[in-house]
Amino acid sequence: MDPARFCSQSRLVIVAGKGGVGKTTVTAALAVMAARAGLRTLIVEVEGKTGLGAAFGRGELSYDEIELAERIRARTLTPDQALLEYLEDHGMRRLSKRLTNTGFLDVVATAAPGIKDILVLGKVKQLEREGDVDLIVLDAPAAGHAVTFLQSARGLLDAVRVGPVRTQAEQVQELLADPARCQVLLVTLPEETPVNEAVETADRLRERVGVHLLGIVVNGLYPPMRGIESAAALLEGVPADEAEPLRAAAAFRQSRNELQREQLGRLREGLALPQLRLPFLFSPELGPAEISGLADALTDSVGALETVP
């Protein structure tokens, strides 16, 4: 599939997955791929401290939008920031400080669970509606919180029967249910537990949230390396002190490759979604050069997908 087409399937892409699977990496690579395809892209980060800024050679992101690269803008959007903005938009600016200082915000958030998430998603919905960009990439909260986060609208519709927050929740639910406006891109690793959790998360997102899934990115696959499969023959004649570590490292990579292939198979069986693949990075730093390489890999992977008419 053409990357521009892939990135235009919905205006908002929510990148979701458990902690440590590389959500932020995928968010960055997807944004770069979209920008290269000519789409004006906005990255929205809801947790802070994700290292997204650093991936583009910048510092931490803030509430104020900044330009990270050509056609890529980015900002944070935390519940507190969203609340403040909500109250300001509704002419209640003076109250917001009082709500926070008295600890009252916690009381309200407990009385109406999901309200913080709704405020964030409500703001994202507003950004999507404004249409200043072609694609919004949302780096969703880590851990099991992604499902709870996206489920907040439904939950709140049960708890709150009237008022502007209910309206907000209804509009968020409409957004989540419309595949032309919003889809989720899952991220996982080719390992047993992450694969199980990805399948589980996909089911929950479809059933409990009613959101459409764009695909799943399998991150951290060892790239192919020539010679690995035929190490024994190649090492004949190589001095033993070098042959032995070469053989051991080749055997290690081969066994990891097999394990990864096995997990890819399990994932394919468990989840009928387009699979995209990103390579394992041996370099420890995640900077602009690495993100660019990952965007290349993502583009290749998208290119290999068949276009569904």
Partner: protein, 368 residues
């Protein structure tokens, strides 16, 4: 290095670290070692992967530990933390009457607390730890911590909950009507009216009803929270930091270490899971040169491969050394990348070998 002295001498071990680094598995291995040393040990898990939960005989959330039979002189127990029912039993403990406790449990606002008030799960994990330690007759309690991003929520959580329950505005609301009208100033009334307008009046009514029902119990909760905090800083309690050599996990590890230090709590052991093996003593740079010498051949691929892993391990070792230095003199235990996830008692035993005999050294270089 070995963690055996910790499981032999401490009464409580708290495993902390970011999500996905193998905290739950490490906690289970520690408890098993306790049982092997003849102690009555229990592990409190938060969100175990399903197969590990099955191996530990944990099929659902529970409020009481399940015993795991095995070939050890002590006892091994496990439980999967049920935040809501742990909170419920606290309510029963501190409510002056059963009727009042039941009233609280029925309140919708209360039912939301365990799921929605941030820090509640963390606090209940610590509460459960305290209960098992004080009242469960366990000699060793190991607790896994929720994969929270707010690293030390579990230390702040008890106080945060009591602050929440002490909310001043609700104290006013609980006063008899006449006094209430005097005490509640205009600003507060405006605030409440506004909140009612935004989220609906019933939401506010639920909250008010909850705080009314809770009246008189705050002191009991507060004292309990203080005792829990006291236990966390007791010398019989050890905090163990679990991480992987990945940059993001180590970054969170450093953050945890700094936060614990601020709280005056030392990290007493550092466990690094999923370390890559070191295959060669030759440096990555030399190996890249060798690859260049064989450019164009398949043998170059083998040199590149070895160079990749060597480079990776060099960085991993340097990063781990830096974190280890920061938590000195805590012992450092390395656990290599294992071929599969641990999901049975045998797997836990295997893992135990790294934690309890000789896991501290870097993986041996083949042929050396």
């Amino acid at each position: 290095m070995t963690l055996a002295p910790l499981t032999r001498t401490r009464r409580v071990i708290v495993c902390c670290g970011s999500g996905g680094v193998g905290k739950t598995t490490t906690a289970a291995v520690l408890a098993m070692e306790g049982a092997r040393q003849g102690r009555r040990a229990v592990v409190v898990t938060i969100d175990p992967a399903k197969r590990l939960a099955d191996a530990l005989g944990l099929h659902s959330l529970s409020n009481t530990p399940t015993r795991i039979e095995g070939d050890w002189p002590g006892e091994l127990w496990a439980l999967m933390l049920d935040t809501k029912s742990t909170f419920d039993s606290l309510v029963f403990k501190y409510a002056p009457s059963k009727t009042q406790a039941e009233g609280i449990l029925r309140n919708r606002f209360y039912r939301n607390i365990s799921a929605a008030l941030s820090g509640t799960q963390e606090y209940m994990a610590m509460e459960k730890l305290y209960e098992l330690h004080e009242e469960g007759g366990f000699e060793l309690v190991i607790v896994d911590t929720p994969p929270t991003r707010n690293a030390l929520d579990f230390i702040d959580a008890p106080r945060r909950l009591t602050r929440f329950l002490d909310n001043r505005i609700f104290r006013w609301l609980m006063m008899p009507t006449r006094a209430y009208l005097k005490a509640v100033n205009v600003a507060t009334r405006t605030l409440l009216r506004t909140i009612s307008r935004v989220v609906g009046a019933e939401v506010v009514q639920d909250a008010v009803a909850f705080f009314q029902a809770f009246e008189g119990m705050e002191e009991g909760f507060r004292q309990r929270a203080e005792r829990v905090l006291h236990l966390l800083s007791d010398p019989a309690t050890a905090f163990l930091l679990v991480t992987t050599p990945r940059a993001d996990a180590l970054e969170e590890g450093r953050f945890f270490a700094a936060k614990l230090e601020e709280a005056g709590i030392p990290v007493e052991a550092l466990v690094v899971n999923r370390m890559h093996p070191r295959f060669a003593r030759i440096g990555a740079g030399t190996l890249r040169e060798r690859a260049a010498d064989h450019a164009g051949s398949d043998l170059a691929g083998l040199y590149e491969n070895l160079a990749d892993f060597t480079q990776l391990v060099e960085v991993e070792e340097a990063n781990v050394a830096e974190l280890s230095e920061r938590v000195r003199p805590a012992p450092l235990v390395r656990v290599p990348f294992l071929p599969s996830d641990v999901h049975d008692l045998e797997g836990l035993s295997e893992l135990g070998k790294y934690l309890f005999d000789g896991g501290g050294e870097p993986a041996p270089v083949p042929g050396s």
